[in-house]
């Protein structure tokens, strides 16, 4: 079982072989857990996110919603990344309020005088920027689009991108650099401003 590829293991699992899932989890547990841990720096929370990630994976695989577009581990990391973002979003909405504390993790009530979240106008501007950026990406060569999406939308490190795309880190760095230069050119030629 250990010598089988991820695709084969997924296929076997979808046909009812539970042992294939065990192999898949054991094969990728270190890489995925490390990825999660270094984003949140809390071992218990990392275990929770790891568990939620695989629960989602299990449901999606059983429903037949996995399509073989990329590597399994990258897909798993993307799910974990989204769960981490969800966690921090939920956490920011549940700030404990106290009047005095600067010594504990709680926020002082005076910190709340300045509303940190975006107002509706800022949200509209952010959405507009994202839409413009996605439209501009379509003008880049496919390989540059890919690295930009992996780096800035999926939050992968250069090393992870290099592993995923079978390129060296230097090539990855170069490709992101050229992509950014090209994006700047497109912005200048079309008078697009992406700042507030």
């Amino acid at each position: 079982m250990k010598s089988k590829s991820d695709s084969l293991l997924i296929s076997l699992y979808q046909k009812g072989d539970e042992g294939a899932l065990s192999t898949l989890i054991h094969r990728h547990q270190r890489e995925l857990f490390t990825f999660i841990f270094y984003k949140i720096n809390d071992e218990d929370l990392a275990n929770d996110v790891f568990q939620d990630t695989f629960m989602k994976i299990i449901v999606m695989l059983k429903e037949g919603r996995y399509n073989e577009e990329g590597k399994f581990i990258l897909w798993a990391k993307r799910i974990a990344h989204n769960l981490i973002i969800d966690h921090f979003r939920a956490k920011s909405k549940n700030i404990k309020v106290s009047e005095t504390t600067f010594e504990t993790d709680e926020y002082s009530i005076f910190d709340l005088l300045r509303e940190p979240s975006e107002n509706i106008e800022d949200q509209l501007v952010t959405n507009q920027i994202q839409e413009d950026l996605l439209r501009m990406l379509q003008f880049l060569p496919q390989n540059q689009q890919e690295v930009i999406k992996l780096r800035f939308f999926d939050g992968l490190s250069f090393k992870e991108i290099a592993d995923h795309t079978d390129m060296s880190i230097n090539t990855t760095l170069g490709r992101v650099r050229y992509a950014l230069i090209n994006l700047r050119k497109i912005m200048e030629e079309n008078n697009i401003i992406l700042t507030r």
Partner: protein, 44 residues
Amino acid sequence: MKKNDSLKVKALKPKKETIEFLLNYSKSLEIVKTKAKNYPISKN
């Protein structure tokens, strides 16, 4: 000699219980497919 814990390499992997939970979760999960939607249900 006193051990220097800071030099220990931390094993970054999930707890055994987490893995066991996931394998049991998978075994107990069944997907009921209808025309409109898929429903994950527990076999237990």
